[in-house]
Amino acid sequence: MFVEFIHDFSKILLATGRDVLPILLLITGFQLFVIRQPIPHLRRLLVGGVYVVIGLALFLAGLEKALFPLGKIMATQLSDPTFIYGAGEIPLQADWKAYGWVYLFGAMIGFATTIAEPSLIAVAQKANEVSAGAISTWGLRITVAIGVAFGISLGTFRIVTGTPLYLYILAGYLIVIAQTLMAPKGIIALAYDSGGVTTSTVTVPLVAALGLGLAATVPGRNPALDGFGLIAFASLFPIIAVMGYAQLMHYLSQRRKKIMENKNAL
């Protein structure tokens, strides 16, 4: 087991190293030929870079060892018709009401994987730093995770019912546009960004397994047409959630101000 692990780990480490290679080449090239100035604190930066690569490799190796197989097995088990319809006959058309556990699993796994997503941690830290603490790291992460949870849950519902993907995306875009017009200005760019950061190392493999598993087992669905789209949902709804949260906070502080003014007027 140990030898096997070392083998797996070195493979992942190599792959992560390959991911970093173009960035390394690009930065070194620009440093040498364009900027032509020494990099401050070079040693510290290099140590940090090594930490990132080894940390990410360990993280991925652990996920592949423990969470991915388990999550994938669970996704298949939950979408298995014999689990959903019991021992009875499997209907030709899917009954969307029978898939309650799938929706709940989608929501919970979406929330949980988003909390553990390293790129969201990074962006939340940056946002906290840039806003001088006004945007709390955990507040942003939980809001985004709620958005992903809702998105995945709705996405599994879409796969079960077989309704066209673009209708949901269109509706989502319209909501985003309406919110953009009303939301506090400072949050807009960050909200748009939070759509893209939610779906990487942890979320994508699990969610893709859930989507393809569902599309393959739900009666009347075609994996090629219906299996996709969960990731799109997971990148759309965090935008709505983050702007919604900012709007709510804005509204509450306005109301508090008004109440205070009324009190003072009395």
């Binding site: 490799a57 360990l58 652990g62 556990w101 553990a116 941690i121 995306i169 960004d193 893209g196 969960l230």
Partner: protein, 242 residues
């Protein structure tokens, strides 16, 4: 002293993972009612995940963030727009073109397209390669547009909303088989190492250029990088299939 710092970071990482453990435990025990398979292996994996996340977050603060900001500041101080834009494009393109998630998605898309009779099976590999190139090009272009926006101070919502309109318009004419993949392509292109670097680049630029706020103008690069691939994947489908 050092041990307490490490302990604190480990506890933070454990907190990040707690929801996953709770969800999997709940479904395994309450809903599916099956014992956890290979308990030892799972625990060992979880331990690796915690250690890895701890190291990653530490390296983020020490390495990735400062590098991104230092590059942004050095390029902005140099005052050459061409070099800055070239750097932005190269960063987006080079980090995406070899991204394993993208390679997997492109191969899958080629398979679907050939089984749907849209392309000849012999050209499947060529198709996947073209798809990869167009996505990588679109991410490069996205970072370039995003950097341009920070410099010029364009409001982000006009750009993003026009992007949405284009996506919707193309959806009506793109072949049905490509739509799902195109929508998902937006989410998979930004990798875990690219995101912090790009975020630091944007914030670094916005804080260097006078009149820009790091919060209002510094973010948004990732948003472009997840929007443009959708347009390009559908566009690629349209060009190839017609």
């Amino acid at each position: 002293m050092i041990t307490s710092v490490i302990l604190k970071k480990l506890i933070n990482a454990l907190q990040d993972l707690l929801p996953i453990i709770v969800v999997i435990g709940f479904f395994q025990i309450v809903v599916l009612r099956q014992p956890l398979p290979q308990m030892g292996e799972v625990l060992f994996g979880a331990l690796l995940v915690v250690a890895g996340l701890t190291l990653f977050v530490q390296g983020l603060e020490m390495g990735l963030f400062p590098i991104g900001e230092a590059m942004a500041q050095a390029l902005a101080r140099k005052g050459s727009l061409t070099w800055l834009l070239l750097f932005a494009f190269a960063l987006g393109f080079s980090t995406t073109v070899a991204e394993p998630a993208l390679i997997a998605v492109a191969a899958e898309a080629a398979e679907i397209a050939s089984s749907g009779g849209l392309i000849h099976p012999d050209t499947q590999q060529q198709y996947a390669f073209g798809l990869r190139m167009s996505v990588a090009f679109s991410v490069g272009l996205a970072i370039l547009i995003g950097v341009m926006r920070i410099i010029r101070g364009w409001p982000i919502h006009y750009l993003i909303i026009s992007g949405y309109v284009i996506v919707m318009g193309m959806t009506t004419i793109a072949p049905e088989e490509i739509i799902g993949i195109a929508y998902d392509a937006g989410g998979v292109t930004t990798s875990t190492i690219t995101v912090p670097l790009v975020a630091a680049l944007g914030v670094g630029l916005a804080s260097t250029i006078r009149g820009r706020s790091p919060l209002v103008d510094g973010f948004g690069l990732i948003a472009f990088a997840s929007l443009l691939p959708m347009i390009f994947v559908m566009g690629y489908g349209l060009i190839i299939f017609n």
